[in-house]
C-alpha cells in the first residue's frame, strides 16, 4: 500500500455511491399433485440448506378449548415415529449435521430445519416422517407436559410475557388471538388423543408449504421433494374460526401487579391491519419513523434524550386475520407517567403534521436497505419467502417491495398514522409493582388491576 495518505476533509460525510441492484436468485415455485406448495431458491453462501415445512393451522384453531395445543402437538411430534425412537431422531440429526425445531404460533405450525446439503435427502425423509408418521408416545408427552408446566410458572414471573398476555386479551377478547398461552389448568387437561387428532386433521398436504433455500440445484431438489413428499395422500382443512372482536372505546389502563418488580414494563397500542391490507406498507413506514428504528422519534426521545429506557420500540404486527400496533418500553418506576406522556406526544406529532422530506427519505432508505440485508443469508432469504408465500401475497411482492416503499409520500405516512395510531382508543398495559406505579398509570384512563395469575384484583 502507498504510505502517503491522500488528504481528506474529515469533516465532510462521504456521499452514497450509486446502489448496486439486488440480483434475485432463481426461484422455483410449484404445487405438487397432492397440494403441497413448494418454494425452492438457490443460495450458495455455505454448503448447507435451510427449510421450513409449514401447516397453515396453529394455536388459533383450538384456542377456545385447548390453547397452545398446536404448539404442544409440534413439540411431541419430534419425539417418536413409526420408524424411529426419540433418541434415534436426535442422533440421526447430529449425524447429518442438522438442527431441527418444531412449534406453532397463532396461525401456523412449522418444522424448521437446516443441515449440510450432502445429507439433504436423508434430512427431508426425516422431516417427512415427523410430519406423517409421528406416534406421540405417552411417556414423551407426559415429560413434555411437565416441562411445559414448569415453563408456564416461570412465564408468570416474566414482565414481557405478562404485558403481552394482558395486551392481547384486551385487544382481541375471546377471539383466538386474545390468548397467547395455556393456563396451567389447561395444560393439565391436555389429552394425548387431542394431539393425534390435531395432527391427523391439520398436518395435511393441502395445508402445507415447504420453503427451502440453499446450496442446491432447484431442479434436482424438486425431484427429490417430489419423491419424498409426492405420495402423501392429499387433503385440505378448514380455516380457523374468526369470531367477533371486542369494541374498544377510549383509553383504558390495565395494571398487572408483579410484587418486587424494580422496573415497569409499558405496552400501549391498538388493533391495526394485516400484511394483505393495501395500507400495510404505509403503516410500516409510519411505524419506522415513529418508533420502529433506532433512529426513530420515540427512541431518540425517551432513550437518547431522556434516558428513561434501554430498548423502546414500536411495531406493526400482522397476524393472518387481524393485526395490531404496539409500543413497548421497560422504564424505571418513577417515569411511567412521563413515558406515557411522551409516547402520546410523539403519536400526536405523527397524526397532526406531515413528516419532512429528509426524514421521509431517510426512513424509506432504511426500510429498503435492511430489506436487502435480510436477503443476504440463507435464513434471512427463507424468512422473507415464507412470509410472502404463507400469506399468499402477490407473486412479485418481494421483488417490488423496495420500489413500492420508495414511492410512498409524507401524505401516505400521515394517513397511516391517523388511521392506525389510534391514540384516542389506545389500550395501556403496565406491569410492575403496584405501589410504585399505580398512581402514575391511573392518570391515563380508567384502570383495572390484575395479579400475575391473570385474576382481577
Amino acid at each position: 500500500m502507498a504510505s502517503t495518505p491522500r488528504s481528506e476533509n474529515q469533516s465532510a460525510i462521504p456521499a452514497l455511491s450509486p446502489a448496486r441492484p439486488v440480483i434475485w436468485p432463481p426461484r422455483a415455485r410449484t404445487t405438487l399433485s397432492n397440494g403441497i406448495e413448494v418454494v425452492l431458491v438457490e443460495s450458495h453462501t455455505i454448503p448447507k440448506f435451510t427449510g421450513q415445512l409449514f401447516f397453515r393451522s396453529g394455536n388459533a384453531v383450538t384456542a377456545a378449548t385447548a390453547p397452545g395445543l398446536a404448539d404442544m402437538t409440534a413439540t411431541v411430534a419430534r419425539t417418536g415415529t413409526t420408524a424411529r425412537t426419540s433418541r434415534q431422531i436426535e442422533e440421526d440429526l447430529r449425524r447429518m449435521g442438522a438442527d431441527l425445531s418444531s412449534g406453532a404460533g397463532a396461525d401456523n405450525s412449522v418444522v424448521s430445519f437446516d443441515g449440510l446439503v450432502d445429507f439433504s435427502n436423508e434430512l427431508l425423509r426425516l422431516v417427512a416422517e415427523l410430519t406423517q408418521q409421528a406416534i406421540f408416545p405417552a411417556a414423551e408427552f407426559e415429560r413434555e407436559r411437565r416441562q411445559l408446566l414448569e415453563g408456564l410458572k416461570i412465564q408468570r414471573t416474566t414482565p414481557g410475557f405478562l404485558a403481552s398476555e394482558r395486551f392481547r386479551r384486551v385487544l382481541f377478547g375471546a377471539h383466538p388471538y386474545g390468548t397467547i398461552s395455556p393456563t396451567e389448568a389447561q395444560a393439565e387437561s391436555y389429552r394425548l388423543e387431542q394431539f393425534k387428532d390435531f395432527y391427523a386433521r391439520y398436518y395435511r398436504p393441502g395445508n402445507a408449504l415447504l420453503v427451502m433455500v440453499g446450496d442446491f440445484a432447484p431442479q434436482a431438489m424438486h425431484e427429490q421433494v417430489e419423491k419424498i413428499f409426492g405420495a402423501w395422500a392429499s387433503g385440505s382443512v378448514a380455516e380457523a374460526p374468526n369470531p367477533p372482536l371486542p369494541d374498544l372505546h377510549g383509553r383504558r389502563v390495565y395494571l398487572v401487579h408483579l410484587p418486587g418488580a424494580v422496573q415497569a414494563q409499558v405496552l400501549v397500542g391498538n388493533r391495526a391491519i394485516t400484511r394483505k391490507h393495501p395500507d400495510w406498507l404505509r403503516l410500516t413506514l409510519a411505524n419506522s419513523i415513529y418508533g420502529g428504528a433506532f433512529n426513530s422519534r420515540l427512541v431518540m426521545n425517551i432513550r437518547e434524550e431522556k434516558g428513561y429506557t434501554y430498548s423502546p420500540r414500536s411495531g406493526a404486527h400482522p397476524l393472518r386475520q387481524h393485526g395490531y400496533f404496539s409500543i413497548g418500553a421497560a422504564v424505571r418506576n418513577d417515569v411511567v407517567a412521563a413515558t406515557l406522556t411522551e409516547i402520546f406526544k410523539e403519536i400526536e406529532g405523527m397524526r397532526s403534521t406531515p413528516v419532512g422530506e429528509d426524514e421521509l427519505a431517510d426512513a424509506r432508505n432504511y426500510l429498503t436497505g435492511i430489506f436487502s440485508l435480510g436477503l443476504a443469508t440463507q435464513d434471512g432469504l427463507a424468512g422473507q419467502l415464507a412470509t410472502a408465500t404463507l400469506e399468499r401475497l402477490p407473486e412479485d411482492y418481494l421483488e417490488t417491495y423496495r420500489e413500492r416503499i420508495l414511492k410512498l409520500t409524507a401524505g401516505d405516512v400521515l394517513d397511516a398514522a391517523q388511521k392506525y395510531f389510534d391514540s384516542a382508543n389506545a389500550q395501556i398495559v403496565v406491569v410492575g409493582d403496584r405501589a410504585q406505579i399505580e398512581s402514575q398509570a391511573a392518570t391515563f384512563g380508567e384502570m383495572e388491576v390484575y395479579d400475575a395469575q391473570g385474576n382481577r384484583i
Binding site: 474529515q10 446502489a19 455455505i46 436426535e90 447430529r94 449425524r95 414471573t157 431518540m300 421497560a330
Partner: protein
C-alpha cells in the same frame, strides 16, 4: 463461504482474506464476497470488561455506549442516524476480552461507514449530559436483562465472583450502580486514550468490495489517525484452584431451583482446547448431548439443561484468558441440589471412565463443522450478514495474530481422537477444578 456450488462438506474452506497494518498500528482485514450488494464493517478493540478500572465495574460496557454519543465530526445522534438513513444496522457489544462496533449496510454506503468509524477512532467528543443519559440507559438495560427478570444474569454474573480470585475475572461486569454513578467524563477520555489507540484495534471489511478498493478506502480514512501508546499488559491470571468452590444466590422471581457448574477450560489453540471443544459438544450440544439426554429426557430430574465453553455470553473462540465450561440446569423442586449434582456427576464419571467411541465422535465432528459454516454466514440475526466471520477474523487477529486460521482451524477439531476427549475429560472434570452456583428461589411470603 466460497461462491462455487459444491456440496462437499469436507472441502477445504477458502475464504479470501488479505491483511495489512497501517503505520499507526491499525491492523486491517478485508474479505470480499460480491454475491450480494451488502457489506459488513467491524472495529474490534482489544479491551473487554475484565480489565476495566478498579472501582469502575461496568465501565467498559458504559464506555461502549459512549462511543455512540459523538465523535470529532459526528455529534450526538449522527452515528445512528447516518447508518440507519443509509439503509443499515449498527450496534456494539462488550465481551470479556474485546469490544466491538459494527455496521451492515448496502455497499453503496460503505465509504461513509468507514468515515464514521475513523472519526470515532480519532477522537471522542462527548459531554456530561451524554454520560448522564447513557448511565441512565445502562441502568435500565441492567434492570431489563438482570434485576427484573427471572434467572437474570444466571449464571454469567453469578459465576465469576465464586469461580475466580483475581478481580479482573471476578467482578460484576454489568456494573454496580454505585460504580456507574461514580464514572466521570475524565474516566471516559482516559479510557479512550488508554485502550482505543489504532494499534490496539483491528478493522474488518467484509462483503461487496474489491480487495484493492477496500485498502484504498482504509488508507484514505484511517492512515492519518495518530498512533498512541500500547496499553500496559494487564494481569488477568488466576491462582491455581485447589478445591471446589460453591456459592448460593437468591432467585427473586423464578419458581425452579437452578444450578450452574463451571470447569476451568484450557487456553485457546492448545491441543487440550480442541479436545475440550469436542467434549463440550458431547456433553451439551442440544437434546442429543449427554447431559440433556440423561437429566432431562431419561431421568427427568431437570427440565432444562444447556451449556458450553463461556456459556452463555461467549463462545469457544472469543476469549483470551481464564474461562469456564459451564452447564446450566433448572431442576424439579422435588429433587435436592445434591441429588441433581450427583446425577450430573454420574454423566461426567461415565465420560471419564469409559470415554467415547468413534461412533459418537464422528457425528459430533460433522455437526461441529455444520455449525461452523452457519456461524460464518450469519451468526447474529438476519440483518448482520457475516457477523460470525467478522467475529472470528477479529479474535484470530487480536489474540493469535493469524486471521487465516478461519480457513484452517477446523482441521484441528477434525483430528481430535476419542482418547484425547477422554483424556481431557479426566483432566478438566475434577471437583477441584470446578465452581458451583446454586440459584435458590426466594421463599414466597404473603404479598
Amino acid at each position: 463461504m466460497g461462491s462455487e456450488s459444491t456440496g462437499d462438506f469436507l472441502r477445504q474452506l477458502n475464504i479470501p482474506i488479505q491483511t495489512t497494518t497501517l503505520p499507526n498500528g491499525l491492523r486491517v482485514v478485508v474479505s470480499p464476497d460480491r454475491a450480494a450488494p451488502v457489506a459488513t464493517v467491524g472495529v474490534y478493540y482489544n479491551i473487554g470488561f475484565r480489565i476495566e478500572p478498579h472501582g469502575r465495574s461496568g465501565f467498559a460496557h458504559l464506555f461502549e455506549h459512549m462511543m455512540f454519543q459523538g465523535s470529532a465530526n459526528a455529534g450526538k445522534m449522527v452515528h445512528i442516524k447516518l447508518i440507519n438513513s443509509s439503509g443499515g444496522m449498527l450496534n456494539g457489544s462488550t465481551h470479556y476480552d474485546v469490544t466491538n462496533y459494527y455496521e451492515s449496510v448496502p455497499s453503496n454506503a460503505l465509504e461513509r461507514v468507514l468515515w464514521l468509524e475513523a472519526d470515532r477512532m480519532r477522537a471522542l467528543k462527548v459531554d456530561d449530559d451524554n454520560l448522564r443519559n447513557q448511565r441512565d440507559v445502562v441502568k435500565e438495560e441492567v434492570r431489563v436483562n438482570v434485576l427484573n427478570q427471572p434467572y437474570g444474569g444466571f449464571p454469567w454474573l453469578d459465576m465469576p465472583p465464586i469461580a475466580y480470585r483475581n478481580w479482573a475475572n471476578a467482578h460484576n461486569f454489568y456494573g454496580d450502580f454505585d460504580d456507574l454513578d461514580a464514572a466521570t467524563l475524565e474516566d471516559v477520555q482516559k479510557f479512550f486514550k488508554t485502550y482505543y489507540a489504532p494499534s490496539n484495534a483491528v478493522l474488518l471489511i467484509l462483503g461487496d468490495i474489491e480487495m484493492e478498493e477496500g485498502f484504498k478506502l482504509v488508507e484514505r480514512y484511517f492512515a492519518s489517525i495518530p498512533s498512541g501508546p500500547q496499553p500496559e499488559p494487564a494481569n488477568i491470571d488466576e491462582p491455581p484452584q485447589l478445591e471446589e468452590r460453591r456459592g448460593v444466590v437468591e432467585e427473586k422471581f423464578g419458581t425452579l431451583p437452578g444450578i450452574a457448574i463451571g470447569y476451568q477450560a484450557p487456553r485457546r489453540l492448545t491441543p487440550e482446547w480442541y479436545a475440550a471443544a469436542m467434549l463440550d459438544q458431547a456433553l451439551h450440544g442440544g437434546r442429543v448431548g449427554r447431559v440433556y439426554r440423561r437429566l432431562v429426557l431419561e431421568q427427568q430430574i431437570a427440565v432444562d439443561a444447556e451449556g458450553g465453553i463461556q456459556y452463555p455470553v461467549g463462545d469457544l473462540f472469543d476469549y483470551n484468558g481464564p474461562t469456564l465450561m459451564v452447564t446450566r440446569l433448572l431442576h424439579k423442586p422435588e429433587y435436592s441440589a445434591d441429588q441433581t449434582i450427583a446425577a450430573y456427576d454420574e454423566v461426567l464419571e461415565e465420560m471419564k471412565q469409559q470415554g467415547m467411541t468413534a461412533e459418537e465422535l464422528d457425528p459430533i465432528k460433522v455437526k461441529f463443522r455444520s455449525n461452523y459454516f452457519s456461524m460464518l454466514e450469519g451468526g447474529h440475526g438476519a440483518h448482520i450478514p457475516r457477523y460470525g466471520l467478522m467475529h472470528l477474523l477479529a479474535c484470530f487477529t487480536l489474540f493469535d495474530s493469524d486471521p487465516h486460521l478461519v480457513n484452517t482451524i477446523l482441521g484441528g477439531f477434525m483430528e481430535v481422537t476419542p482418547e484425547a476427549v477422554q483424556s481431557v475429560a479426566r483432566k478438566l472434570l475434577t471437583r477441584s477444578n470446578r465452581s458451583i452456583v446454586i440459584r435458590q428461589p426466594a421463599k414466597k411470603g404473603a404479598v
